[in-house]
């Protein structure tokens, strides 16, 4: 359980400690606005990033303790929970969305299918899928290592919905908070991680 924060801290430590006087990221706003002249009006929020992203950008993902706590509080408040408090969906659908990198590129409109979570881009999950990335920690046997505990199921849901609620300035997308995935899709991804029948836990 402690290994994930440890890896995260390690990753942060690898970022060179640059000079304290970093330019204000907001100073780049005009250049960004001018660089994307074809952006539709409703894409404006994509260009600037919200308060959390601005804090993570300026600190290069190493926020001070105070900022980290503020981020955690803010992002935790963004999480919408399933009304029935059932956090697990269908692991098979979860595996499908873990494979899919579709969605939200400017060539993905109008949408031709549901957005994917693209989990395999960064994480190892099932044994069978050998084409996995290493930007994130391995999630192999994720549920088994947590004894399939109900609180771990809820924690997995929260991490996928908004990773910053657990790890401020995590590099993982906020799949729920940024509306990349629906609540139902996140439940499917949770099942892939936490269901005892999921190949992530059966070693297949």
């Amino acid at each position: 359980m402690r290994i994930i924060p440890a890896i995260f801290a390690l990753a942060l430590g690898a970022i060179p400690a640059a000079a304290q006087q970093r330019p204000d990221p907001a100073a780049a706003d005009p250049a960004i606005k001018a660089a994307f002249p074809t952006a539709p009006a409703d894409w404006a929020p994509r260009l600037t990033g919200d308060d959390t992203m601005q804090q993570c950008s300026v600190s290069r993902n190493s926020p001070s303790k105070e900022v980290a706590e503020a981020i955690q509080k803010r992002e935790l408040a963004s999480i919408a929970y399933p009304p029935d408090n059932n956090f697990m969906g269908d692991w098979k659908k979860g595996e499908a969305l873990a494979q899919s990198g579709y969605g939200l590129r400017f060539t993905d409109y109008p949408a031709r299918q549901a957005n994917g979570g693209n989990c395999y881009a960064c994480h190892q999950l099932t044994k069978k899928e050998v084409s996995y990335g290493t930007l994130g920690p391995s999630l192999s046997e994720y549920g088994k290592l947590r004894d399939f505990k109900p609180e771990a199921v809820k924690a997995a849901y929260e991490k996928i919905y908004n990773s910053h609620a657990a790890f401020p300035c995590s590099t993982m997308p906020r799949f729920g908070a940024n509306k990349v995935l629906t609540v139902e899709q996140i439940k499917d991804a949770v099942a892939l991680l936490m269901s005892p029948e999921s190949p992530v836990n059966t070693g297949q």
């Binding site: 100073a27 994509r46 600037t48």
Partner: protein, 272 residues
């Protein structure tokens, strides 16, 4: 003949379904291909565009029916040898810092009368299409600095400001996935799926890979330029279309080139 066989083989890779095992097989096959290239560097199809770019440089074009031979890439009008090694740089006539593509486009407008505003609407080739004329000339210019080391000037305040802006942008997180360049390129030895990711925040790895652009890309069967590479990264980051020649695009290229300072230019390179 050998080139033809290689091209057919590469087209087969590009058309192959992107299944798991095949990804690994493809990587192996490309590594084999790279080994063959080391034996005979001239078999890189990117050299076809180097030649095309050289021909375009001396061919009258545009409303003014002029060639590019009076284009000043920083070392004086018409001086191509070694010019790429000192780009991006500040140009007094345009009063801004420019990378090779931005400068070539500026020359196309000034010398040939081609509308830059029109050109940037579709400046990059689709999959399977050859690199556009601007990109072919950029490939030619870059190849004329092959073997030299990156030494972009920082004497002008605007050059330093541009590199600083590029560094800010490298770490700037935005878009629905909260990505920055640094999300994928601020650590060593990591990969997306099976694709290795260069550690561009570190000079050692940056100086190894930045000099390989423009590069022939096996997966899309054309030369991809550095501006196109930036455009493609922002596409993956779920950002809008990055405009060729925009200050942000030049700044990122200036920052990456500074990261690669002293690294050897090996354009055109060969990429997956």
């Amino acid at each position: 003949m050998r080139l033809l066989i290689l091209l057919v083989a590469m087209a087969a890779f590009a058309l192959a379904p992107r299944a798991v095992a095949q990804d690994a097989e493809t990587e192996k096959a490309i590594e084999k291909y790279r080994a063959m290239l080391r034996e005979d560097p001239w078999s890189n199809p990117g050299f076809l565009d180097v030649d095309r770019g050289e021909a375009l440089w001396t061919t009258a074009a545009g409303p003014k029916k002029a060639t590019m031979e009076q284009c000043d890439l920083g070392k004086g009008p018409g001086k191509v040898d070694g010019a790429f090694a000192e780009l991006p740089r500040y140009f007094a006539d345009a009063d801004r810092v420019m990378d090779v593509e931005t400068r070539l486009l500026w020359c196309m407008e000034k010398l040939q009368g081609i509308s830059a505003a029109d050109y940037v609407k579709r400046p990059h080739p689709g999959g399977g299409q050859p690199v556009k004329d601007l990109g072919a000339m950029a490939t030619y210019v870059a190849a004329k600095s092959a073997g030299q080391k990156f030494a972009a000037p920082l004497g002008h305040a605007k050059e330093r400001e541009t590199v600083a802006l590029g560094e800010t942008l490298f770490y700037r997180r935005s878009g629905p996935f909260d990505f920055a360049c640094a999300t994928c390129h601020a650590n060593s030895g990591l990969r997306i799926r099976l694709q290795g990711l260069p550690y561009l925040a570190e000079k050692k790895e940056a100086s190894k890979v930045i000099g390989e652009w423009p590069a022939y890309r096996v997966s899309t069967t054309h030369v991809m330029t550095m501006q196109h590479r930036m455009f493609d990264c922002y596409w993956q980051m779920r950002m809008p279309e990055l405009q060729l020649g925009s200050d942000a695009s030049v700044a990122l290229i200036a920052f990456l080139t500074k990261q690669a300072d002293g690294g050897e230019i090996a354009a055109p390179g060969l990429k997956r």
